[in-house]
Symmetry: C2
Subunit: 360 residues, 2 copies
DNA sequence: CTGAAAGCGCTTACAG
DNA sequence: CTGAAAGCGCTTACAG
């Protein structure tokens, strides 16, 4: 007896919650209960103000009482709007991408959309196939660092509302970090610390980000009369970073900037394993402020921007396009800043050949 | 002229790709082209074998030629199956959750489902509200570490096919790590290293995982004649870990196990900042093998299990339930193992009071 | 094996 | 302001 009472009082919000039953409540049920036509219910629940205030309220009350939820698919059929947004990503290695996803999701929800997450193999054709597969079921897409070429991308965007992140292509709305600013600041910092020769570790494939960062490193170095040396990596991971260590050392550079933090972390590990002290003998600057860049010893100096903002802005841009179709493609640039941590230092021990050259 | 040729050859797969046009191809278009009824098209494309081999092939050919894609919403309406699965997560701080998401997505795709990701505020009612909002649009749900009570969970699962991860509740299908095994191994390892007093840093709220780990630490310590001391944290993050350092030291324990790796990392940082050497003066064992646990110095010893398997198994379980409704609730236990890294060591410098006690 | 028909739950001109 | 009707694209008994 008392047990029954207890179980009854344990979950009152469930017992009382409207329509616990599995049966689906439709607008016809509401129409019936309210004594109006289903179309009136549709109007009352949808475009407000097209219905008499009294009926409006009556219908709304009945709807909540019955626990009515619009069937999104039934709605999608006549309207063509699914209120689903797709986020398509390749092989994301960087864990800070979780921020992008999380913020994209919450922003989508705030706009009344749901986010469907789709992974795609890292190959242009697969990417296109994935998009084809998915696009019929969503109102718009966000493409993270897509591999397809510019023309394919533009072709796609004629077909489907779409926003690209971490890549800028003429004619396509996108969200990218302000690479130039970040790199310039980083290079300036290195110069002030006496560095004159900087290595740049690029990503395996020529992603927009890697290419962009490399170009800006080149540019910034030229501007400040420094030498820049490009060093490719095999993969944009910690392991890939380790593998570049030899080449980085062999390059004769005293500082190195990598196109992402994982590379920087791997590089640091490998250098330390070879007793090459960081930053005394090699300064390291990462890019992206990945989770984990503060766990290293020394902590990693890196070019940071708000990854969450990437997700938020991408969704906002997409929703904007969806709402007012015909919006011109817009590029959102996210501010970057250099976070100075322990991995960079003064270049004191100029190698002798440098002085020799100076005498030439 | 040559430029035109070039642009034409640049993206042949696009030019040739079937139905580049935006217009939607329906089964009626195919039916018209094939000279059959739409219902026949539906059968040919859907349940195979219910149509003459010749018509079958004819229809399939026309379908691919026209670039037909089934409209998932039109299908969902009569069948009630959306081929959408929801993954509902609270405030996920651990970046290794990206593995869960990624594997869940790819497994869902392999089964012909798409994954919709939904974040929810960390409060039982909000959680339930989120589920209510979402459940009409998906075939089933995966709940990551939900906050609602057991009864609410069971109530929900009557309503909607659902699988829970990182929590075990009687009557609910779930995927959890084998906590007992991992903790036992860890404690045994500590004992063999001479430790006799172990602190356990729990999560802020009593998540199933934290509670479970704590209980097993207690149990394992009793079994091996060791002392276990529980220390709550304010939040299950790096910062939260830092804040527990004082209490951990004050506890007199020589080793500490935390309910996740972030706590362990923060704790290590704070101890080191106070010149308390790890592992010489304090051994640390994490839980979860989070990204970043290998970036610390020393690297973190932790209880690991395959996070990706969590996502994979959860989806498999859910799809299994969806396919054969009426399957009994099943709990999948993922194997765990202790990964020994530098953060644990021998307890050599037994404090004097220990010896004093021994003489008592 | 195939066609004609009804229906899934909603929206939206079109009348009134 | 409201109702009756048609239609979104598909599926599935039901006949034949």
């Amino acid at each position: 007896m008392s047990a029954e009472e207890e179980s009854a009082s344990l979950a009152p919000q469930i017992q009382n919650s409207p329509n616990t039953a599995t049966s689906k409540v439709t607008i016809y049920d509401i129409a019936h209960a309210a004594g109006v036509n289903a179309s009136t219910v549709s109007r009352a629940l949808g475009k407000k103000g097209r219905t008499a205030p009294r009926t409006q309220k009556l219908i709304e009350d009945i709807a909540t009482e019955l626990g009515y939820r619009v069937n999104p698919f039934a709605r999608a059929l006549p309207t063509g709007r699914t209120y689903l947004l797709g986020l398509i990503v390749g092989n994301v290695v960087d864990p800070s991408f979780l921020d992008v996803i999380r913020c994209a999701e919450s922003t989508a929800t705030a706009h009344g959309y749901n986010l469907i997450l789709v992974g795609t193999p890292e190959a242009p054709e697969k990417e296109i196939a994935t998009i084809q597969r998915i696009k019929g079921g969503v109102d718009g897409l966000i493409l993270a660092d897509p591999l397809m070429c510019d023309d394919q991308l533009r072709e796609m965007s004629r077909d489907t509302p779409l926003v690209v992140i971490d890549r800028q292509t003429e004619g396509i709305p996108c969200v990218v970090p302000d690479v130039k600013k970040g790199v310039r600041e980083a290079i300036r910092g290195l110069r002030e610390n006496g560095h004159r020769k900087v290595a740049f570790v690029s990503g395996a494939r020529d992603s927009w980000m890697s290419t962009r960062i490399g170009a800006e490193v080149q540019d910034a170095c030229e501007w400040s009369g420094m030498e820049a040396i490009g060093i490719p990596s095999r993969e944009p991971t910690v392991e890939g970073g380790r593998l570049t260590a030899r080449n980085v050392v062999a390059s004769g550079a005293t500082a190195v900037l990598t196109c992402n933090d994982l590379l920087a972390i791997g590089l640091m590990q490998e250098l330390q394993a070879a007793s090459i002290t960081v930053p005394d003998r090699m300064s390291i600057v990462g890019f992206g402020d990945a989770v984990g860049s503060v766990y290293t010893t020394p902590q990693l100096t890196t070019v940071r921007w708000n990854r969450g903002q990437t997700g938020t802005n991408a969704i906002n841009l997409l929703v904007e396009i969806l709402d007012a179709s015909g919006t011109p493609a817009r590029a959102v640039h996210l501010d970057t800043e250099v976070v100075i941590r322990g991995s960079i230092g003064r270049q004191n021990n100029a190698p002798s050949w440098l002085e020799v050259e100076a005498h030439d």
